[in-house]
């Protein structure tokens, strides 16, 4: 049984049953295109592109911000003095133990209802931004990414062999140089495979910001649904776009992984 499975896996991708399945899928796709309503697509294509741009912008900005936060949080959990370690661990536990939607609404409705009470904030330049939903969305998503990624980085920092760090110390590197030249690059290499998964999870978290009035791809599709009364077609398009984005992200990270030599990592 298992040998038969192995030998069939070794064969090429196109086998008779796959060809049938692909034909069936194409037939289904043809029905979807032919029998459903797609006349709204050209009219809304600009809006869809705008929403896609917002989604990607939020994805990359929160991933980068969250990652920059995650490195120190992961590091203090490995080497920090105990109060910092305890704070970092409590942060990770609380963020990972509560739903992102709740955190998002806490920040948006909670802080959003506090800020207007400070005249200093209300009259500062910040207010033009704080009236919108997106700063709260970016903050919540970045914090969430930081908490999940900090756990990964903690493991990655711990996984760097002691001997390499001792060698760096023996060469007379000061702690910062050692961190920058040895510890961080070695840890990043270890964290890269999990980073791909975390980024896909982050992409899947972005539509939540539509609930706090940010117009991303998901919000655009909801708007189209309301305006055209097309029930399923916009949702199918949305699904297709997210699948493509996930595939591109996974492929990009796989390419990045192959670019980095991993001997002995």
């Amino acid at each position: 049984m298992s040998e038969a499975a192995k030998s069939s896996n070794a064969d090429n991708f196109f086998k008779p049953h796959r060809l049938c399945l692909i034909a069936l899928a194409l037939l289904l796709l043809g029905c979807v295109i032919g029998f459903m309503r797609w006349d709204w697509v050209p009219h809304y294509s600009g809006l869809i592109a705008y929403g896609l741009g917002v989604t990607l912008l939020v994805l990359f900005s929160t991933s980068i911000l969250g990652f920059l936060l995650a490195v120190p949080i992961g590091l203090v959990q490995v080497t920090g003095p105990w109060p910092l370690k305890a704070v970092a661990q409590a942060f990770c536990t609380v963020i990972r133990g509560t739903p992102l939607l709740l955190q998002l609404w806490l920040i948006y409705y909670g802080l959003g209802s506090l800020f207007p009470q400070f005249p200093a904030i209300r009259h500062s330049f910040l207010w033009t931004y704080l009236r919108d939903g997106w700063p709260y969305g970016v903050a919540a998503l970045a914090i969430s990414f930081a908490a999940y990624e900090a756990e990964v980085m903690r493991g990655a920092f711990l996984g760097v062999p002691r001997g390499e760090l001792e060698a760096a110390r023996a060469f007379g590197m000061n702690p910062f140089t050692m961190f920058r030249r040895i510890w961080l690059p070695r840890a990043l290499r270890r964290a890269l495979p999990t980073l791909a998964g975390e980024t896909v999870l982050q992409l899947k978290a972005t539509p939540l910001i539509a609930t706090i009035t940010v117009v991303d791809l998901y919000a655009v599709i909801l708007k189209i649904r309301q305006e055209t009364f097309a029930t399923y077609e916009p949702l199918l398009l949305l699904t297709l776009i997210y699948i493509c984005l996930t595939a591109i992200l996974v492929a990009a990270f796989r390419y990045l992984e192959h670019r980095i030599p991993t001997s002995g990592a």
Binding site: M1, S2, S8, K15, H17, R18, L21, T93, V94, R96, G97, T98, P99, L100, L101, L102, Q103, W105, L106, Y109, G110, L111, G112, S113, L114, Q117, V200, L203, K204, A205, T206, P207, L208, T211, Y218, T231, Y232, L235, L238, T239, Y242, I243, T246, A247
Partner: protein, 243 residues
């Protein structure tokens, strides 16, 4: 109204009607019902999916691959929207076609169905990996002893795979409890929705969202303790992990 957000008004959390504590706890119970139901359904789908992926025919394996890939690539919020509306719509049309008239699907059943389909895709992968990590000799030994396939499953495969599966399955349980919050977006009154209503009508946003956070966190921490106990029990007798 302005000082209500500054000086914490604990009476808002009272269990009796002027306070909102009872509403929150009720929402927590609804959340847990969906999480438990969805997780159970997900485990059933995952077990079937893992067995289908490992021992099924080529068509079955390809179809399951499509299922797990699709569900894991699409945001949960979008899946919930599609399954919640399309699922109830399809069921209505089906029952209308069969002559039963439209059925009224409770939000609870729809929620369990949605969370179950999502969890099923992830648990398929977890269980498949766990079953694959059993050394084939153990199953062959069972077969050599003349055990029936169901007996091999009950006595060898499941006990041997559990230690490998439990970390993944416990993660899935925690994801299930948190994913129930997403049902608030389609208007289902679980904990997050109840919190939003309580916060909206009393304007004490921070108090109520923090209270709900504490409830979710308590569920997570209690789950961790229970999972730890189950994990220790499943790992008993495994050498080399004395910690």
């Amino acid at each position: 109204m302005t000082d209500a957000t500054w000086i914490i008004n604990w009476s808002l959390l009272a269990l009796e009607p002027p306070g909102w504590g009872g509403v929150l706890l009720n929402g927590l119970v609804r959340s847990l019902e969906i999480a438990i139901g969805g997780y159970g359904l997900g485990l059933c789908l995952g077990t079937g999916g893992a067995i289908g992926k490992l021992y099924g025919g080529p068509v079955m394996r390809d179809l399951l691959k499509v299922y797990t890939t699709l569900v894991r690539a699409v945001p949960e919020l979008v899946l919930i929207l599609i399954l919640y509306y399309a699922g109830t719509d399809l069921l209505n049309q089906l029952s209308a076609a069969l002559g039963y008239g439209s059925v009224d699907i409770s939000g609870l059943v729809a929620g369990i169905f949605v969370i179950g389909v999502v969890e099923g895709a992830y648990s398929t992968e977890v269980l498949r990996g766990a079953i694959q990590s059993i050394s084939p000799g153990q199953i062959e030994a069972g077969r050599a002893f003349g055990m029936a396939p169901t007996k091999i499953l009950l006595r060898i495969t499941i006990p041997a795979m559990l230690p490998h599966a439990i970390p993944g399955l416990s993660n899935l349980w925690l994801i299930a409890t948190k994913d129930t919050a997403l049902l608030a977006v389609v208007g289902f009154s679980e904990l997050t929705m109840a919190t939003r209503q309580a916060a909206g009508s009393s304007k004490a946003y921070i108090l109520f969202f923090c209270a709900a956070g504490v409830l979710y966190l308590a569920v997570t921490l209690i789950s961790n303790v229970i999972i730890g106990a189950i994990d220790r029990r499943c790992r008993r007798g495994i050498a080399g992990e004395s910690a």
